[in-house]
Amino acid sequence: MIEVQHLTKRYGSVTAVDDVSFTVERGEILGFLGPNGAGKTTTMRVLTGYMPPTDGKALVAGYDVFEQPIEAKKRTGYLPETPPLYPDMTVLEYLTFVSKIKGVARPERRARVDEMMRKTHIADMAHRHCGKLSKGYRQRVGLAQALMHNPDVLILDEPTAGLDPKQIIETRQLIKNLAGDHTIILSTHILPEVSQTCQRVVIINRGKVVAVDTPENLTSRLRGSETMYLQVDAGGADAATVLQRVTGVTRVVVSDTRATAVGYEVDSEAGRDVRRELAAAVVGRGWGLLEMRPMRMSLEEIFLHVTTEEAPATPAAAEEVVQ
């Protein structure tokens, strides 16, 4: 549905986006992740036809955004970082204007505007001026604007920025509901947002793509080994040596001690599931197994890892990040 090929954008001598390529399948939600100034907004602006690329090309729904901009724009809805609202128009006037310029046929306009207001829960603000809306409502009017012509592709630049927690949850839910009918690219620098809403992540840093994968795969791929956290009540006995003897375990580290219970971080060979053996070893000795859970690298850690300069993608480096 979206195809970005070797996209490069330079502003004078500054290269904002450097040879970026990725594709998004129909109905997918793609998270576009990166620190501020990484080139997220620039990439999105090229995709929406706001600016042409210096090099490379982008296809939206099969149309080159530079060669056939009108066709591509008819199929793209865009919510910029600041919703593009006219402060002196009421919400209804604004959405009616949007429906006109987005090419909604005259007889359908009124119904379409009403439907969008219902979908984004702004109907009660229809006669309020856009300039007097709260941030949350502005964002929703912006979303209604992007959805107006029922586009195949939705491009949302930080849709939850500046919202309160309740609004963030509502907006995320709204976006999730939109997937399937629409292909969505969503940029953010808030990481939990990506793991909660997106099926795939593109991490971009200094204009370059540094990782493309599902949030789960990213987590496991960056680790050379699996780590389990165990809390064992061994009644004062030394559980570490016992755990160490389990086949496949490479390292055991004491991570915390409280009263009689001791927490251990147990590393094992990559791809080897040692949970059964660990549990058997502990329970077999009559000790209490209070907790056992896999330790995954959180997206924050991955993000820091891949965007920190000169961080080699070795297990050792990943380890450092975890600790």
Partner: protein, 255 residues
């Protein structure tokens, strides 16, 4: 065409959603009304004096009242039209709504022509107010209506040139004050550019006279439609709009 009208309609509504539309029209009406009153008093005096002469004198309401009135209107435009054009692009750039326009399925030309038509409609509304004064003259005197109509045509064309140049300047900056100030300076320059024409050489003289937007208006006030002036006005308008399109496109590449 629908897209053009949608933009034009939005622009026009924008003028009246803020006080700008009312202020511009009100200011123009006030100044024009004042000039009308002053000219009328002078004209009356002249008529009385000339009427006392042998043969009744020869007063021409078109030449002695309406023509100076049109020329004064052109000066008011120099001050008022920058207020109309300064926000057209600057405001959209500042508030980020330009992103909506540029990512909607519209061509640059549709946006520019729409904005131009929006401003032209406001300007036409401004001129419509002067119809009241004209109606007074027609009910108490008998001016030549063709000359009056040609005068209005000239005003419309000249205003079109100003608006087209103002639109171009507005597309260059996101600061309305900068846009308005530069527009005002350029308008003023285009008005006074032929002042040194009388003591310049013959070539320079015709060049300077040709450049002056207001100089081309003079024949219209006399009731003359010269294709030379029509060509000039339409070229300036087209050129202004063309440069605006280039400016918007350049802005795109620069980001």
């Amino acid at each position: 065409m629908n897209n053009v009208l949608a933009i034009a309609h939005k622009e026009l509504k924008g003028y009246f959603a803020t006080p700008i539309g009312y202020i511009v029209i009100g200011m123009f009406a006030l100044l024009y009304g004042w000039f009308f009153y002053v000219m009328l008093v002078i004209f009356n005096q002249q008529s009385l004096q000339l009427g006392g002469l042998e043969g009744g004198g020869n007063v021409d309401i078109n030449q002695q009242l309406i023509r100076p009135l049109f020329l004064n209107a052109s000066v008011i435009l120099l001050f008022v039209l920058p207020l109309v054009t300064m926000r057209i692009y600057s405001e959209e750039k500042r508030s980020g709504t330009i992103e909506l326009l540029l990512t909607s399925p519209l061509t640059d030309v549709q946006i520019i022509v729409g904005k131009f038509l929006g401003a032209m409609t406001l300007y036409a509304a401004m001129l419509a107010i002067t119809a009241i004064h004209m109606a007074l003259l027609f009910s108490y005197g008998n001016p030549e209506w063709k000359v009056v109509a040609i005068g209005y045509l000239g005003l419309l064309l000249m205003g079109g040139c100003f608006i087209s140049v103002g639109l171009l300047i507005s597309s260059l900056t996101k600061n309305q004050i900068v846009s308005g100030m530069i527009t005002f300076a350029v308008f003023l320059l285009l008005w006074v550019i032929n002042w040194p024409a009388s003591f310049a050489g013959p070539t320079m003289q015709s060049v300077l006279n040709y450049l002056s937007i207001t100089d081309h208006f003079d024949d219209f006030t006399k009731g003359i439609v010269d294709t030379k002036h029509l060509v000039y006005y339409f070229s300036v308008m087209a050129f202004g709009l063309f440069l605006t399109a280039r400016s918007v496109d350049t802005e795109r590449w620069k980001g």
